[in-house]
Subunit: 114 residues, 2 copies
C-alpha cells in the first residue's frame, strides 16, 4: 500500500488527488485523517497548540479557551494524537501536546491543486 | 464572521490555523467542509472528477469505478456539491459534476504550514 508521504507527492507534477483517481486504500487512510480533523473543538485545540510558543501547550492551558471539561478536552486530544497530528509528553503532573511535524503537510499535499 | 477566503490567508505570513487560535465560527465552518471530505467514497469520487478531462465527469461514468449504485453515488455527489467542492450541471439525460475552482485551495490554505 502506498503511504501518505509528502516525498511521494514532491516528485510529481501535482497532488495525487488531482493527478489520478485515488485508490481505495489511500482513500480510507486520508478519510480517517480528515475525520480526526473534522470537528470544531479539535480544530480549535490543534490551532491553539500550533499558535503556542514552540508549537506546544500544556493540557492545563487548553480547557479554558474551548470552555470544556478536562476529560472532554483529553478525549479530543487523544483522537488528534492517535491520528498523528499531535505528540504527547508527560512532564511532572501535566501532559504537554505538540504539533507533529509534517502531519498537516501530508494532508495538504494530497488536497492541493497545482 | 470571517469567511474562509484564500485572499484572507494570502496577505498573512502563514495559514490561520498556525497564526492564531481559530475562532468558534471559523472552526465550525472548516469542520463542516472537512466532514464532507472525510469519507473514502467521496474522496474517490472527487479524485475521479478532478483527474477527468476538463475536471468534469458524467455521473454515468462515476458509478462503476467506486462499485456503488447510482443513488448512493448521487447522495455522495450531493454532499460534495452542497459543501462547494463540486458544481453540477444537467445536459440532456445526465448530470455532470465539475471540480469547483478554489474550494480545495481554501481548505489547504487553512491547514498549510509555513
Amino acid at each position: 500500500m502506498r503511504t501518505l508521504e509528502v516525498t511521494d507527492v514532491g516528485a510529481a507534477c501535482c497532488a495525487p488527488l488531482l493527478r489520478e483517481p485515488l485508490g481505495a486504500a489511500d482513500a480510507e487512510q486520508l478519510a480517517g485523517a480528515l475525520r480526526a480533523l473534522a470537528d470544531p473543538t479539535r480544530l480549535r485545540l490543534l490551532s491553539i497548540v500550533a499558535a503556542s510558543d514552540g508549537q506546544e501547550a500544556c493540557v492545563c492551558d487548553l480547557t479554558a479557551p474551548v470552555g470544556l471539561s478536562q476529560p472532554t478536552v483529553s478525549h479530543h486530544l487523544k483522537i488528534l494524537t492517535q491520528a498523528g497530528f499531535l505528540t504527547r509528553s508527560k512532564r511532572g503532573t501535566w501532559a504537554y501536546y505538540a504539533l507533529a511535524p509534517g502531519a498537516l503537510d501530508r494532508i495538504t499535499a494530497f488536497l492541493a491543486t497545482p
